[in-house]
Symmetry: C2
Subunit: 139 residues, 2 copies
DNA sequence: CTTGACTCTAAAGTTAACTATAGGGTTTAT
DNA sequence: ATAAACCCTATAGTTAACTTTAGAGTCAAG
């Protein structure tokens, strides 16, 4: 498919797709004789991945890193891939932990505060988080 | 405490803290006679929250929204707060779902691909994510 | 065979989130 | 009481991630 169709079926603007190519995130499968970019199903999948990874706070650079994570003797050894992947996993685990804390805090706002006995002014997300928090220095 | 100490104990630059004030994310508790900003423990907590929320993809604007989520008769009704919080919770749930998918995909790269029987070239994160749709051997 | 929708490159402009600079007061340790 | 270290405002500059513009070639329908 050409760039217009890819744009329509992913919601990314045509210019954004060209920008992603320039940034090494999405290479067209090929070019037509006249120079038009051509994409396929994998391009679609890749863009969905990009959207999701962006939504959870990964930068384009990090996403490019995730996308090129592959075992390829000429590039990375299996061990290298493994260590990068493990690093990313622990980064993801941290994000999940943070989201879980926020989720609980928000839930306690909707559940405990609204209709609870405490004065309404205590119902802020910071106060809700208080219950969860341990002492931790900045990262 | 003054801005320098807050900066040191959070890792945010002094200029960033002033910027956050301008953006309505962090108001100093008070000012000294000479105009110096003064902060307290809540400021610290708030900055930790800001860092965490940023790391999972929330914009400063969204974070400000989360921080002002409080039941205050003059601002929001309990019902309004509840509905905003519920909206945020579902947003968070989506993020967690995405992270979980990514986590599994990365895990299958470290585990199944490295040392597995399949050809090494199939070990990309896109292929790993593919496996989730149907049957996945792990988790 | 022309018109309108599509595509191309290259370069400039925009927005969010900082970061640095200039020029000046304030605090504190010696 | 003075120098170093801190703080202030205001403004300009930077980076990532787009978005827009300009000027031109390509393709499909009528």
């Amino acid at each position: 498919m050409r760039i217009g169709e890819l744009s329509k079926s992913t919601g990314f603007q045509v210019e954004t797709l060209r920008y992603y190519e320039k940034e090494g995130l999405l290479t067209p499968v090929s070019r037509t004789q006249s120079g038009y970019r051509e994409y396929n199903q994998t391009s679609l999948k890749q863009l969905h991945f990009i959207r999701n990874a962006k939504s959870v706070g990964f930068s384009l650079k990090e996403i490019a890193e995730l996308l090129t994570l592959r075992v390829d003797r000429n590039q990375y050894s299996c061990g290298e891939v493994k260590s990068i992947a493990e690093q990313k996993i622990s980064q993801i685990d941290n994000k999940i932990k943070e989201l879980d804390k926020m989720r609980k805090a928000l839930y306690s706002i909707t559940d405990a505060c609204c209709g609870g006995a405490e004065p309404a002014t205590t119902c802020t997300i910071l106060n809700a988080l208080d219950g969860e928090e341990e002492e931790s220095k900045y990262v």
